[in-house]
Amino acid sequence: MSKGTPTRSKSKRILIGSALVLIAAMIVPLTGYVYVAVAQPQIESSANWQETNPRSEIWREVRQGSQAYSAVKGPEANVLIDNGGQNFRQIRNGPVATFGPWLLAIMLLGVAGMFVLSGGGQKVEKPLSGKRVPRWSTYVRVVHWIMAIAFLLLLITGLSLLFGRAVLIPLMGAEGFSAWAIVAKYVHNYTGPVFAVSLLMLVLALARDNMPSKVDVDWFLKGGFAGKHVPTGKLNAGEKLWFWFNAVGGLVVAISGIVLILPNIFEARSTMQIALLVHAGLALLYIGGSFVHMYMGTLGARGALDAITKGHVSSEWAEQHHDLWYDDVKKEGKEFVGEEGEAGRGPEVPTGSGSTA
């Protein structure tokens, strides 16, 4: 640099220079990918690889987990190295264990937010006349509650296995938690099939009611999800969404769970690694979703709980939440006069403490 250079252009050059260095620093490491992309096919395409260096070939195959022979028989006893375990460890202890608790916390906060914003949950606006309409059959209600209880048991025991080491060992001690974890394992293993069967029964029983229709599109477009009332049939689009999440996600959780309880049939570690990751990840989403479902069924839409406990709801609730369905039921002449105690109370609607049908 000559002596007479004005300082301004000097600083400009420094600026440009450092920008170039920065850009280079960002680009140069990327050339690694180019190298890999170019070098890899070369290595693989050289047909006489095996002949030129049989030893390297052997060790490369071993590192890739290829099958060999072993006189000892057992699940994959003939495989020297299984690389999937590393991914399994990293995904389970990484994203699943970190995002899981966040997801659950966000869902809980979301539910609390819904409660506050709606002014303590939606109440039935009209005074109750005592008239009722039937909603769910005994079959649906019994299966629903078997499934719900199984779900809660699986939730408690499953989360214990996933987060107990971080949360419960400090509280209960290693021995205490181990004792609980053994119970949790057995409860989880034996409740699982009960859940799977009841879920399947409920999905089959309710699929027709949950077929999407044009009204459902309006529900989303017009803000039904934000608590606005949009004309709806027996189930609104939000409820249908939850149903289909159950039908697909729930069944995947159930199937992956059943794979996990049968290590004698599904012996390959890769199967188990994937099954456990899918199982844990989807189960966490499922638990998050269930918070919303449980809130809507109790505090979120007052009077809804009657539908799945007693099997019938007040006509006023039906009209307010599912007007199109209410019109149909009324036309079919299924409306009836409820028992004492189901009428007269103001907009603060009963929680189903009366006698059941």
Partner: protein, 195 residues
């Protein structure tokens, strides 16, 4: 302090399964469980190679990382052991282990797993050393007696080496130098990382 490691010299192993038998005999492992096994590559073909493998006692052990009840611990000698009183038999360690070391006695209904069993480097388990109870649960504690694992001591060709990692590496390096060829510290990078 020693850092215990296994090393199998694939140019010496003749697949006699003596180590497997020695292990079973020394530890009286449960039926159906093999803590050690010999795997043969290119079996019956030119370039056949055999390797004896058991738990490698990893530095950053994957089994310990995923165990829901946190029942693993590493001894001062770098041996990875576990507490069968805490183990719930979930099988996660088997899914995570690169070497297929954790084993499960199939004794319960519907194939539910019993307590995990694996190579202890002949170092027993938690609790007092050399007791009847320790032997029944974990097998021999030769390390407490100042002896090395039975498998390596029994190996007729001295293919299987067990002991302090530096010493084992030195012995192997010397062998390779004498006979020529390239060293193959099989499984070491997986088990021990760079260290």
């Amino acid at each position: 302090m020693a850092r215990m490691k296994f090393l199998c010299d694939a140019d010496r192993c003749i697949e006699c399964n003596g180590c497997v038998t020695a292990c079973k005999n020394a530890n009286e492992v449960p039926w159906g469980v093999n803590r050690r096994r010999v795997v043969t590559l290119n079996d019956g073909l030119p370039g056949e190679k055999s390797i004896s493998v058991a738990c490698m006692h990893c530095t950053d052990a994957p089994c310990a990382a995923v165990c829901p009840v946190d029942c693993f611990y590493t001894t001062d000698d770098g041996i990875v052991l576990h507490d069968k009183d805490l183990c719930i038999g979930c099988g996660y360690c088997f899914y995570a282990c690169p070497f297929g070391a954790p084993q499960f006695p199939k004794t319960e209904a519907f194939g539910v797993r019993g307590k995990m069993d694996k190579c202890t480097f002949c170092a027993g388990g938690p609790g007092e050393d050399g007791t009847e109870e320790e032997f029944e649960k974990y097998g021999a504690n030769r390390i407490a007696d100042g002896k090395l694992p039975a498998c390596a001591e029994m190996c007729a060709t001295k293919a299987l080496l067990a002991g302090d990692g530096d010493m084992v590496a030195d012995i192997y390096r010397e062998r390779v130098m004498r006979r020529g060829g390239r060293p193959q510290t099989w499984g070491w990078s997986k088990a021990y990382g760079e260290g």
